[in-house]
Symmetry: C2
Subunit: 141 residues, 2 copies
């Protein structure tokens, strides 16, 4: 699943309305256009966005297109957002990371204690003149 693509697809008022309509009933393009007061071509383009995100499976039956919403993808997306929300805060432990120039977490505690190298590691290189003075804010409060 292309998470960003799916999110972009539903991050639009019109497409969200279309989805909720299609979850309840079949609609032909003209019925959707009528319901949402938009041109048929506009609806067709929105359907394309939803289809290419994997949210709709289309099938032609008789004269009309019948679109089915891929509920499973929506469930999957909900799961991914839930997983994101469940990411836990990590305590910064310089001694556990060999790429951190601080010897241990004590080097990271109070303002003024950080060496220039540690500060540059935590805050990135200053663009202009010299290093900033300040505490490393990558750690827990």
């Amino acid at each position: 699943m292309d998470k960003t693509k799916v999110l972009k697809a539903i991050a639009d008022e019109t497409r969200l309305k279309m989805l909720t309509l299609l979850l309840r009933h079949n609609y032909c393009v003209r019925a959707l256009a009528n319901e949402l007061e938009l041109a048929e071509a506009t609806i067709s383009q929105h359907l394309k966005v939803l289809r290419e995100a994997g949210l709709l499976a289309g099938e032609k039956r008789g004269h009309f297109m019948h679109y089915d919403v891929e509920r499973s993808l929506l469930h999957e997306l909900a799961g991914e957002i839930e997983a994101l929300a469940s990411i836990e805060r990590e305590i910064c432990r310089p001694e556990k990371r060999d790429d951190c120039p601080a010897a241990d977490s004590k080097d990271c505690k109070k303002k003024g204690q950080c060496s220039d190298t540690v500060i540059e590691f935590c805050h990135g290189p200053k663009l202009h003149q010299d290093r900033p003075q300040g505490d490393c804010n990558r750690q827990e409060p």
Copy 2:
């Protein structure tokens, strides 16, 4: 919660990365800019989008801004998408809707049986000449 606003906010690769970084640690703007190889101003603007969607609570501590991710809003969003996915298909019962011109669901079953009025109700008015011939596709297969 402004659902569309929150979705738009996270429907962006860069902002999604920023969120995952901020869920684990505090970062100052320059550290984020450094990590994501973007200008500080760009990061600041992305932070604004996330903040205005309600996803970040910012607080100035010493020299640096400390942003906290509103995990509760992410949970809420996941719930809303889950709810969307759980919308059930409804069977079209014209006799239950006084705005539907079909007498009962039999009027809606087979191709050719729909009157012009019912077709117009289901598919919307045809833009040009006359009515289409065809089955109503607003009902269950």
